[in-house]
Amino acid sequence: MWDREIRAMAASHAVTAAALFMATVLPAALVRGFSVYGTHLLWLYAASGAVSAASVAVYWLLGVTPSAKRHSVGYKLSRLFRSCLYFFLSCLFFHTVVVLYGAPLIESALETFSLAVLLTSLTTLRCLCVLGPNVQAWIRVFSRHGAMSVWDTALQITVACTLVGAWVGAFPIPLDWDRPWQVWPVSCSLGATVGFLSGLVAAPAWIHYHRKQLTYKCK
């Protein structure tokens, strides 16, 4: 059972990573003058769109999402609506946190918000896919020893990696090197992306090596 789940997870992560890769490569071929630094916002939205699409598709296909088959269309619609609301609230939350960290309040609000969107699509969206719009479940998963399945553990790892990546990405901003990737928010979004990718790799690997120790209370 474990091996199957880990394999499924590895596959799903590979698909997500591939989507991210395509989001970088395809526009480069299609759009004239595209570059990760130069037209950063374009890349950023392409990447977040690709990751969102890939996550939603993969988790829907795998059926990890808490099934809603028994419920009516109205219930599904309300879930969808709540998910969208959560997505937007999470964007606002990330935006606030980034501003508290010292991003300019008014000047580059668009850049800051784009970073918030990227972070949301890398973290919150996956939570929404795996756990659904259920705050209780989120609090459970993100408190200590709260994971109840392999997917929860993977979620913890990827989210932590993404956030730490974005955090680390802010380090080079004060350096006076005048490089294109030091422009706000390039280093942070690149850091988040790199962190996310490493989280995608690390999660199945970590679970695989610790599968003996991992015990979940109920599944």
Partner: protein, 982 residues
């Protein structure tokens, strides 16, 4: 010997301060300064020596040159002109060097080989040290006596084109100037064309005496692609063409009968093999110096250029132009330039130079008479006098000529001796003192680290094996070894060394201390090694539980401390250190927020019941509490970290500091502009009221009244100075210095401090009353708050206000409720203190120190209180947080009686780690490009902070002391009471 950890920590810190002071003494050589603060004047010049008759006229010989053109090519290396490629690179110059009437030299520049200090060296003739930068804090202009000033005073007309450093150093000195910035290193053509474009018109004109050109292009090419790139040759050819143009223009202008011109080609510093500069390697130090003038003899072939010091150009130019040599110049005139003048003039020139050097030597060295050069100068002066006598008598024999030659030689030797004696004291790092200080600090730091398990244990006492060490053989052997090393180093060192000049008693004490520390270190290490991991597990910093598990917060605190220390190696991170602290503080608040959330959302629900909705769960420990209170407390606790975050974000935009973003508009400027004075007044009044409300709650009623009156006084002081509006102020009143108001506040500060001390002393006697003690401590703290509110500028009062607000909230809802231990609380306090240091507008640049604070309540400048007040207001943030830490930890005593000791130890550790690491970094980076502008000021800040922390730790110590004495007296009471029970 068993000592309590607070005593141990204070002891270590105090000795670290001594070690750092020794290091600083080695790092910043004391500058040579003439005791006369004024500049040299023509009328002060000494008379021409003449034996047996009243002093001769003090006239100067005829100047040698009328017009001087200095062509300074940045980073011009010696081999670009004199090397094998010189003929290819600069054909015309090379031709002049070989065949023209020129003198060429290799001029040695002194490290740091950076443009600004080198320009200073070239113009003042001294070798500037960092201390100069500190001495004239806010003025970028060169205030020392210098050649340009002398020329201006003598009425010479000067024109300057090139690097705008000159324009900043010598404002209003030039008749005409055009500064180019060296900001864009990638531009190497435009920057030079901007200089050359003025050249044609200027060379045609006759209205200038001195023309200075500073070309930056070559330096930029060096930085981009190094000394062997293909860009070098065209650039040097361009320079060669310019030189040719100037030379031919000067030749064509040369009128019959007038004095000749002088054209100087020089470099300010060289270029290393990688193209950078700043260090002391040969190619960086060696620059060409070519003097071209028809007054010189024609050369008949390439000679090996002689070696001179770069500063020798200054007296040469000064004498050549008939100006007094600037006061602090350590250079000696280049004899070749004088060759063609009469013997009398030559002797006179050398005498002037010698006199200036001997004056400087007299002022700067106590035992100047022992210097060989000084003695020689006296002899030469006397011989000069008798020669003059013979000369004036009309004696023109060969004997007289030979005698003059001899005097000349004596003078030259004397000059060389004095110049080298002077420059020995300058511009060199005193490595021995630096290393000694560094070793000192590191031994202490290691002892501190090794003692961690014991110091943070439940007993909070450290066992130092002092006695056994002092009686051991290795100690004495080490003493001997170190003493012999000391003697060896001091006898072989050629430059002056502070540590060697100490008296023998002190040196012996230091040697004994080193050996003792080393032996203690070794014995502690051997004791620790086998038990290491077991004891480490107990230390609260490393783990929250009994295992090796780090909570996220602990990981963050450790990583932050280590990361910050490492970040000091990068100049940008030093410049923008506030960003590091804000970043860490934000993350800390988020981590605390997570802890709070966990406590209130997760813990209260039993495991496995995740479907239970969040309800205000009953607190099983205190069912008596009304429900609503728990509810509100919980929400307040949850709101505290976000509130802190918002406060920090607002404070951050109050004062922009650092370098890169310092120019951005901030709220502080907005508040200080005159049209927003009403807003500022309202804000200040609101802040003062809030400060009163926050501070008064734990004071006695006497202090409450004093505090209220004091804060009123603060407002009226600000109104008197003119920062804020006073409602009943007469409109016509002019702003005064507010001395009366400030003194009024000082009286209340002293009153509050007095009541606090009185309470503390009473609590010593009346041991049962713990409340009295915490009240006394709080009163001392509120006295400090009042003082800071007086010293802070009006727009900075919100910083103080937020500081108090955050302290109150955090103490109430976070530190007590979440059961953070003393170590964690201390680290958090330290981080907050650091962030507040920058919130109040400080940076790692000396220029942001607010010196005006030193005049609050004083009629005129009095050094001791001014320095004290400035230091206090600069470090107000860290001090307030450290004081709050003492209050907080001693109020926590019921929970953990050793908290104060732990806190003191952690504070000492937190301060010594960056300080120790930083002095190593600075030593390693001592030839870095930014060593003066970035690293040295930070070094001063670090050492000042260390000093203040040592003071705070001593304060901790007295608190802990009284506690233990209370403990002992309790014991005594028990012992005394026990017999009565039976």
């Amino acid at each position: 010997m068993r000592v309590r950890s607070s005593v141990f920590a204070s002891f270590v810190l105090v000795f670290e301060v001594i070690g750092v002071a020794l290091f600083l003494r080695g790092f910043f050589p004391v500058p040579l300064k003439s005791s006369f603060s004024s500049n040299n004047k023509l009328s002060d010049l000494p008379a021409e020596p003449l034996t047996g008759s009243p002093p001769n006229s003090s006239r100067l010989p005829q100047p040698l040159f009328t017009r001087v053109v200095v062509m300074l090519v940045d980073a011009l290396r010696e081999d670009f002109v004199f090397g094998a490629n010189g003929r290819r690179y600069m054909p015309y110059t090379r031709h002049l060097v070989e065949r023209g009437s020129t003198h060429s030299f290799v001029a040695k520049a002194r490290p740091p080989t950076v443009t600004m200090p080198r320009i200073k060296a070239l113009t003042t003739g001294t070798i500037p040290g960092f201390i100069d930068v500190v001495m004239n804090l806010n003025s970028p202009a060169l205030l020392e006596d210098n050649l340009i000033w002398q020329a201006k005073t003598a009425g010479k007309k000067m024109v300057f084109y090139g690097d705008d450093t000159w324009v900043r150093l010598f404002p209003k000195h030039f008749m005409e100037y055009d500064g180019t910035t060296s900001f864009f290193v990638s531009d190497y053509t435009e920057v030079d064309n901007n200089v050359t474009r003025h050249l044609d018109s200027t060379l045609k004109r006759d209205d200038w005496d001195i023309l200075i050109l500073h070309y930056l292009g070559l330096d930029h090419i060096g930085h981009i692609s190094g000394p062997h790139s293909s860009l070098i040759q065209p650039k040097l050819l361009e320079m060669d063409d310019i030189l040719k143009k100037i030379h031919s223009a000067l030749i064509s202008k040369e009128a019959e009968g007038s004095l000749p011109y002088l054209l100087v080609l020089c470099g300010d510093h060289g270029m290393s093999e990688t193209g950078s500069h700043g260090g002391s390697s040969e190619p960086e130090v060696n620059t060409p110096l070519v003097l071209i003038s028809p007054a010189f003899k024609r050369k008949v072939g390439m000679e090996k250029p002689g070696v001179v010091e770069q500063v020798d150009l200054t007296p040469t130019l000064a004498l050549g132009l008939g100006l007094p040599i600037s006061q602090n110049s350590v250079g000696r005139v280049i004899p070749g330039v004088l060759e063609e003048t009469s013997l009398r003039d030559q002797l006179r020139f050398l005498h002037l130079n010698g006199h200036q050097l001997s004056c400087l030597l007299k002022d700067s060295t106590p035992d100047y008479e022992k210097e060989a050069g000084f003695e020689q100068f006296r002899v030469a002066e006397k011989a000069h006098g008798s020669w003059m006598k013979l000369f004036l008598e009309g004696n023109t024999s060969e004997v007289l000529n030979n005698m003059g030659k001899k005097v000349l030689k004596q003078y030259l030797e004397a000059l060389a001796g004095m110049s080298s004696a002077l420059s020995r004291q300058l511009g060199k790092y005193d490595m021995y003192s630096m290393v000694a200080g560094m070793v000192f600090v590191f031994q202490l730091l290691l002892v501190l680290l090794l003692a961690m398990p014991e110091a943070l244990s439940g007993e909070a006492a450290v066992d130092l094996p002092v006695l056994s060490v002092l009686l051991s053989l290795p100690f004495y052997l080490l003493c001997l070894l170190l003493a012999s090393v000391h003697v060896l180093v001091c006898t072989s060192a050629e430059s002056s060394c502070y540590f060697c000049s100490l008296s023998w008693g002190l040196v012996f004490a230091a040697v004994a201390f080193y050996s003792a520390m080393f032996c203690i270190l070794v014995s502690m290490a051997t004791r620790r090694l086998p038990l290491g991991p077991k004891i480490h597990g107990r230390s609260p910093v490393r783990s929250s539980g009994s295992e090796w598990s780090l909570s996220e917060l602990d990981a963050l605190l450790l990583a932050g401390t280590v990361g910050h220390t490492l970040s000091l190696a990068a100049s940008s991170f030093v410049e923008e250190e506030h960003q590091t602290w804000y970043f860490l503080l934000n993350t800390l608040c988020l981590a605390v927020f997570q802890d709070v959330c966990r406590k209130y959302f997760r813990e209260q629900r039993g495991p496995g019941d995740e479907d239970e909705p969040i309800l205000p769960s009953k607190d099983c420990h205190s069912p008596a509490h009304p429900k609503a209170e728990i509810y509100s407390e919980r929400w307040l606790a949850l709101a505290t970290p976000p509130f802190t975050l918002v406060c920090c974000r607002l404070l951050r935009s109050l004062n922009q500091t650092g370098v890169q973003w310092a120019h951005l508009p901030d709220v502080g400027h907005w508040l200080n502009s005159s049209e927003h004075r009403t807003v500022l007044s309202l804000l200040a009044a609101f802040c003062l009221v809030l400060i009163y409300l926050l501070v008064q709650r734990r004071c006695s009623w006497v202090s409450k009244v004093a505090l209220a009156l004091g804060l009123l006084g603060v407002y009226s002081y600000r109104a008197a100075v003119g920062n804020v509006l006073f409602p009943w102020q007469h409109s016509g009143r002019t702003t005064s210095k507010g001395t009366v108001e400030a003194r009024f506040v000082y009286v209340f500060i002293l009153g509050i401090l007095f009541t606090g001390t009185k309470d503390l002393l009473r609590s010593q006697i009346n041991t049962a009353n713990a409340k009295l003690k915490s009240r006394g401590l709080w009163e001392i703290y509120s006295g400090l708050v009042l003082l800071v509110s007086l010293l802070f500028r009006a727009h900075n009062l919100p910083v103080l206000c937020c500081c108090l607000l955050i302290q109150t909230l955090m103490a109430q809802f976070i530190w007590k409720k979440l059961h953070y231990d003393a170590a964690q609380t201390t680290i958090m306090h330290y981080w907050f203190g650091q962030a507040f240091f920058y919130f109040q507008g400080n940076s790692n640049n000396i220029a942001t120190v607010d010196i005006s604070v030193g005049f609050v309540g004083l009629e005129s400048y009095v050094e001791a209180p001014a320095v004290f007040l400035t230091a206090l207001s600069t470090y107000a943030g860290p001090l307030l947080w450290a004081c709050h830490l003492v209050c907080h930890l001693s109020s926590e005593r019921d929970r953990s009686p050793v908290a104060v000791g732990h806190g003191c130890y952690c504070l000492a550790l937190l301060r010594s780690v960056p300080a120790a690491a930083y002095i190593v970094l600075v030593t390693a980076l001592r030839y870095h490009l930014f060593i003066w502008s970035v690293f040295s000021p930070k070094l001063l800040y670090e050492s000042m902070h260390l000093l203040l922390t040592a003071g705070v730790c001593l304060f901790f110590n007295t608190m802990e002391q009284s506690h233990s004495s209370r403990f002992f007296s309790n014991c005594w009471t028990v012992i005394l009471v026990t017999p009565h029970l039976f």
